[in-house]
């Protein structure tokens, strides 16, 4: 055995190596090749779809470098802050929590895992710019400036997010995260629907919401009238609410499925109980957001398309999340593949996204009900 003074890093390295072995080891080569081909195909589809938009993307981004930097910096700070909280909590209570390691080692592993978990999202903006650089000849100068700006904003945001004060989750007197809501005593499976609402409320506590509203306030142009500013902030809040509601539904689908799978509750009953209320809320508030968009001067067709696309994404995510959670399987790859399919279809014929999403979701739901 190789002696090491960094047991946390060693454990992480071993886990990563074993995970790779599990993915690409003997007996799973076919599946792995299929997954790699799927990812490559998805990337190819993204490139194919994004190519015509690349010059417009560069033209739109170049004059708004400051705005873009603020957004990217904010994203980095939120992602790193949340990731730090998550991994601090993880390493305070996992199997390595009682090991005699220095605080520096603890911080190093937390920083590394925070960076790794946020890397995908942090890499989106630079990847888009690089993609545009590949697609638009002679754009090296513009993209270099953009990449530099994004890089500085990401680094600054990440540092801010890391050093933002957070509640010490190890402290015993902090309030537990998943406090039961007042609906916990509801009869039957109705409580599942309310669980999503309660979870959304937990994630959107005033403190978190205030942080999320801050960039929208900072991005408001000078001289914006009060009414427009309020409408824009409402729209931003609505967007956050809809996104968090969808995330909460996925969360509840996973937790609820692991809890109810061994019982006699059928999949349809489970899915209906979890999805009914959140889906109704999604429909209700997406329509409201579309109306607000139109009131702000957006073309009705464009507002309708945005709403249609969001509802398609909600339908797809809900169907896949519920079915995969009930089968105790991961949903990410299927969701990415399905969204890519929708994007390609939409490219050839408009207004196909929602019906196709309904169809795909129905297939997943049927498959889960059969198994």
């Amino acid at each position: 055995m190789r002696k090491t003074a960094r047991p946390l890093m060693t454990a992480l390295r071993l886990e990563a190596t074993n995970q790779l072995r599990a993915w690409f080891g003997a007996g799973r080569r076919g599946q792995s090749a299929l997954a790699v081909a799927g990812i490559a195909g998805a990337l190819g589809a993204v490139m194919f779809l994004a190519r015509p938009f690349a010059p417009a993307l560069l033209r739109a981004a170049a004059p708004h470098l400051l705005t873009l930097s603020i957004l990217v910096g904010f994203q980095a700070s939120v992602l790193i802050h949340l990731a730090r909280r998550k991994w601090t909590r993880h390493y305070s209570s996992n199997w390595l929590a009682t090991l005699p390691v220095t605080r520096r080692q603890f911080l190093a592993i937390t920083a590394l895992r925070s960076l790794l978990s946020a890397a995908l999202m942090l890499g989106l903006a630079p990847a888009a710019v690089l993609l545009a650089r590949l697609c638009v000849p002679g754009s090296a100068a513009v993209t270099s400036v953009l990449l530099t700006g994004i890089g500085i904003a990401t680094a600054t945001g990440a540092l801010l997010g890391w050093f933002l004060p957070a509640r010490d989750t190890q402290r015993s007197d902090c309030v537990p995260r998943h406090a039961p809501g007042p609906e916990a005593s509801l009869k039957g499976l109705a409580a599942l629907s309310h669980w999503t609402q309660t979870q959304t409320g937990m994630w959107l506590q005033p403190r978190s919401l205030a942080r999320l509203l801050l960039p929208a306030m900072l991005l408001l142009p000078m001289g914006t009238s009060g009414n427009v500013a309020i409408a824009l902030l409402c729209l931003w809040s609505l967007a956050i609410y809809l996104f968090v509601l969808l995330r909460a539904m996925v969360h509840v689908a996973r937790d609820g499925a692991s809890w109810l799978r061994p019982t006699s509750v059928t999949f349809y009953r489970f899915a209906w109980a979890v999805a009914r209320r959140p889906l109704f809320k999604q429909l209700q508030w997406t329509v409201s957001a579309a109306v607000l968009l139109i009131a702000l001067g957006c073309q009705p067709q464009l507002a309708a398309r945005v709403a249609e696309w969001w509802l398609a994404l909600v339908t797809l995510t809900s169907g896949i999340a519920l079915s995969r959670a009930y089968q105790s399987k991961t949903m990410r790859l299927r969701l990415i593949a399905s969204v890519c399919v929708l994007a390609v279809l939409e490219r050839f014929k408009q207004h196909l996204a929602l019906p196709c999403a309904l169809l795909i979701s129905a297939c997943y739901v049927r498959e889960a009900a059969r198994t």
Partner: protein, 245 residues
């Protein structure tokens, strides 16, 4: 020689506004096997998690061999062996890799022959190179206890550690702990509901009720119960726990 290996003073823990532990005092020396008893939700696990430094208390102090778990956690944890719940073991490491990581953390050159012998006695040896994810609950429990024994810790903390074990494995592990305690190599703090173990192995016991150490038994009192009336402990516990009206 009789310096306390664990000294808990005025320990207070609150979850939000709810007080879970209130002013708990506890002192163990090498050679003590302390059984922590109490109904569900009385604060046993919270107390053990505080002792192992996983929860920072609202007030009070926890010292392991004179070292504060809050102020000098690295030094204090060198003397601590804590058996984590089996579900937190990493599924993607093998049992041997888990043991190696723990041995490395304690600056040991290898896992150690005693722990490997114990693994063989527990019929773990043939599956030690398989991933933890493929282990049954009981097997994970065994690995978890073995992890707690790595590096000959001065204080071994176990939370209902024998619950998922088959009787033969439980006997082997209890015998190992008994030998360590009898040789005054360590003190054991074990939260359990198994009263027969208290009478067989315990040198001390305490009853935790609503976060307060409501009653305790020393070696002499346990010996008297063992000799005169083995059912007395159960009766005493039933009487001490307030009944719902």
């Amino acid at each position: 020689m009789n310096a306390p290996v664990l000294a808990v003073r005025n320990l207070t823990v609150r979850y939000g506004r709810k007080s879970v532990l209130s002013g708990v005092d506890l002192s163990l020396v090498r050679g003590d096997w302390f059984f922590l008893l109490g109904p569900n939700g009385s604060g046993k696990t919270t107390l053990l998690r505080c002792v192992s430094g996983q929860i920072i208390p609202a007030a009070g102090a926890v010292n392991i061999a004179g070292l504060s778990i809050l102020n000098t956690p690295q030094a204090a944890k060198r003397l601590l062996g804590y058996a984590h719940p089996p579900e937190v073991l990493p599924g993607l490491l093998s049992g041997r890799q888990c043991l190696e990581v723990y041995a490395a953390a304690h600056d040991l050159p290898d896992i150690g022959s005693r722990v490997l012998d114990l693994a063989a006695e527990l019929r773990l040896a043939p599956i030690l190179d398989r991933w933890v994810a493929s282990y049954s609950l009981g097997t994970r429990q065994k690995v978890s206890i073995l992890l707690a024994l790595i590096g000959n810790p001065a204080l071994v903390v176990l939370d209902e550690a024998f619950n998922g074990l088959d009787p033969a494995s439980a006997v082997i592990l209890k015998r190992e702990l008994h030998e360590r305690v009898a040789a005054r190599r360590c003190a054991v703090l074990l939260a359990t509901h198994a009263l027969d173990s208290v009478l067989r192995h315990g040198t001390r016991a305490g009853l935790l009720l609503d976060g307060v150490l409501a009653r305790s038994w020393d070696a002499r009192q346990l010996e008297a119960i063992r000799r005169n009336d083995p059912g007395a402990l159960e009766t005493a516990l039933a009487e001490a726990v307030p009944q719902e009206a």
